[in-house]
């Protein structure tokens, strides 16, 4: 251990960095693996080309355990108990629910091991693969686990930063990624994600708390409604746990109404989280939660189409918020 390997950065990977969350994260993880021999990546046969660099240059620290996620978590725990910092990677449902009890017992209960579960495919990211591949309850499940840090990045800059943050933080972590590219919200060189949330926009009528891909949606809603004399505040809640309660409460208190939006079941996600926080702290403001209702999505089609089915598209949200404010 301790030997440093010269960093190799491919131009192609650099190009990908600015487009996709998953690629940005993987590129940053590659840099960490170059720096620290204690870091290991385990996958369960996910076919992610974004790991090619790691696979090619560090075959000994890239482990494909096959399609066996329960074993993957145990192997990660065993490695972590022997001094390694481990990343496990799979599509959201398989790296969270398929091996949930293993995460609970092996990673959390056993002593908060330094293992980061990286789930790709937030919400309807795998839009054409049906409900088996939708990531719609992961935030709820992971935030209930003691000791678990839950991270939900909203763009590629943040996804890359979370690779470094998860490496430096002790204990188990869960990171929920999108596969695809997003318009960037943050500037690469100025972003600081230590607060757990960012107040991206001020507004007095409604404060929209959003996470993941829905942060951009909330910003678009705010933009759209600005022209209609509705003043919308936007919070990017990228760290669900541990939650920065004080800062979130302070921001919530500045608006007349609170809304939440997430590509996740309404039950248990950030809508629940904000409701709990408000109730416990006597924040008596109207609350509206946008998310996926209590049913599985059996429709197949473009992600935007799936959003429109649940009225999570820009026009539906903007209209709902506007109608709400204007009474």
């Amino acid at each position: 251990m301790g030997k440093k390997v010269k960093k190799q950065k491919s131009d192609e990977a650099t190009k990908r960095w600015v487009s996709g969350m998953r690629d940005a994260f993987s590129e940053a993880l590659y840099e960490i693996i170059c720096e620290d021999e204690r870091v290991i990546l385990i996958t369960s046969d996910t076919g992610a080309v974004c790991h090619d660099l790691i696979k090619a240059n560090f075959p000994g620290r890239y482990i494909n355990v096959g399609i066996a996620e329960q074993n993957m978590v145990g192997v990660a725990a065993g490695l972590a108990m022997t001094g390694y910092i481990v990343y496990i990677y799979a599509i959201v449902p398989f790296v969270t629910m398929r091996c949930y009890e293993q995460i609970r017992v092996d990673l959390c209960c056993m002593g908060h091991l330094p293992v980061t579960a990286v789930g790709v495919g937030a919400g309807f990211d795998y839009n054409t693969l049906g409900p088996t591949h939708h990531g719609t309850e992961d935030l709820s499940l992971m935030r209930t686990l003691p000791g678990m840090t839950v991270l939900s990045p909203s763009d590629s800059v943040m996804a890359a930063a979370f690779a470094r943050i998860s490496y430096e933080l002790p204990g188990p972590k869960y990171i929920r990624l999108d596969r695809t590219g997003l318009p960037l919200i943050y500037d690469k060189d100025e972003a600081d994600f230590s607060a757990g949330l960012t107040h991206l926009r001020e507004g007095k009528d409604v404060c929209i708390v959003a996470t993941g891909r829905m942060v951009k949606r909330a910003l678009s809603v705010a933009e759209e409604l600005a022209g209609k004399s509705v003043s919308v505040s936007v919070v990017d809640l990228y760290r669900l746990k541990p939650l920065n309660r004080e800062l979130l409460l302070e921001i919530l208190g500045k608006s007349a109404r609170i809304a939440t939006i997430e590509e996740h079941f309404i039950t248990g996600g950030i809508g629940s989280l904000v409701a709990e926080l408000m109730a416990e702290n006597c924040v008596y403001l109207p609350l509206k939660r946008f998310g996926i209702p209590d049913d599985f999505c059996r429709e197949y089609g473009p992600r935007d189409y799936l959003h429109s089915l649940y009225k999570l598209d820009l026009q539906s949200v903007a209209r709902a918020v506007s109608d709400w404010v204007k009474g």
Binding site: I63, Q70, G74, V75, A77, G78, M81, T82, V105, G111
Partner: protein
């Protein structure tokens, strides 16, 4: 078969007897626990702790130690008995099994008990963790070995076979699983509840070196562990045919003593039978 000195055999047999005494006594005092599966595995565990394992009770976290894991966590009293006998903690702790604030809890907790290398209680997970430790040993170029005790009912868990496949695939010859094949689980005989047989053939098919022994015959046990250490390129499973409740007449083959503590009277009789009354 290898020959072992009568002194060694006698010493280990007596250690196993002593472990059984501790198991019965601590479970009776706690008025709850799982005696059957602790008593059945006592000989195979005694051979490891008092002869085979490279470990240092004064340095439970020694990086080069052999790792002993109990995947069947309900055999915790046996683990505690062995650790206490070795000196990981004072034997006076035995009397506090399952008490509030005790370092000895109903299931093994690595955060509470010195020498417990892995928490367990939820069945089927230990072999995967053993895989991780064995892989780490290989990557680090260390020569420690990883031993993991499995229950025979436990191998009904699907994860065991994911882990078995991985250990075979990665040729983890620094890994040795020990199967306590006592044939009984809480609801009855394995073959009636959910038959895992043929067990040796299954492990062979997953790429394992399989050694079948009488799990109460100390010479066979020692030879199995020695042979396991010499086999290269594949993990070994020692399948020890055992008797649930071994050593206490009324507990032997008794499904009722899977998870029920002996009464004060039963405890007294058991300790007499074990020669430590």
């Amino acid at each position: 078969m290898k020959k072992y000195s009568p002194e060694l055999i006698n010493k280990l047999t007596d250690k196993a007897r002593l472990l059984r005494c501790h198991v019965v006594e601590m479970i009776a005092r706690a008025e709850s626990g799982h005696p059957g599966g602790s008593l059945s595995a006592a000989d195979m565990i005694a051979a490891l702790f008092f002869h085979k394992l490279r470990h240092d009770p004064l340095k439970p976290d020694w990086a080069d130690r052999d790792r002993m894991l109990f995947s069947k966590g309900h055999a915790a009293p046996l683990w505690y008995a062995a650790l206490g006998e070795c000196g990981y903690f004072p034997k006076s702790e035995f009397a506090r099994l399952r008490e509030c604030g005790s370092i000895l809890q109903g299931h093994p907790d690595m955060l509470k008990t010195p020498g417990v290398n892995m928490s367990s209680g939820s069945l089927g997970q230990g072999l995967s963790i053993a895989n991780g430790m064995a892989l780490a040993g290989r990557i680090d170029g260390k020569d420690y070995r990883v031993y993991v005790l499995l229950g025979d009912g436990e191998i009904q868990e699907g994860q065991i076979w994911e882990a078995a496949m991985a250990a075979g695939h990665y040729s983890l010859d620094n890994l040795c699983a020990v199967l306590d094949f006592n044939g009984l689980q809480i609801d009855g005989r394995l073959q009636d509840v959910m038959n895992p047989e043929p067990i040796p053939e299954k492990w062979r098919a997953f790429g394992w070196n399989v050694i079948e022994i009488d799990g109460h015959d100390m010479s066979q046990i020692l030879a199995a562990y020695d042979d396991a250490g010499e086999v290269k390129g594949m993990p070994t499973i020692v399948i020890g045919k055992t008797v649930k409740g071994k050593g206490v007449s009324f507990m032997e083959h008794a499904i009722g003593f899977h998870g029920v503590a002996p009464t004060e009277e039963e405890c007294k009789q058991a300790l007499e039978e074990l020669g430590c009354g």
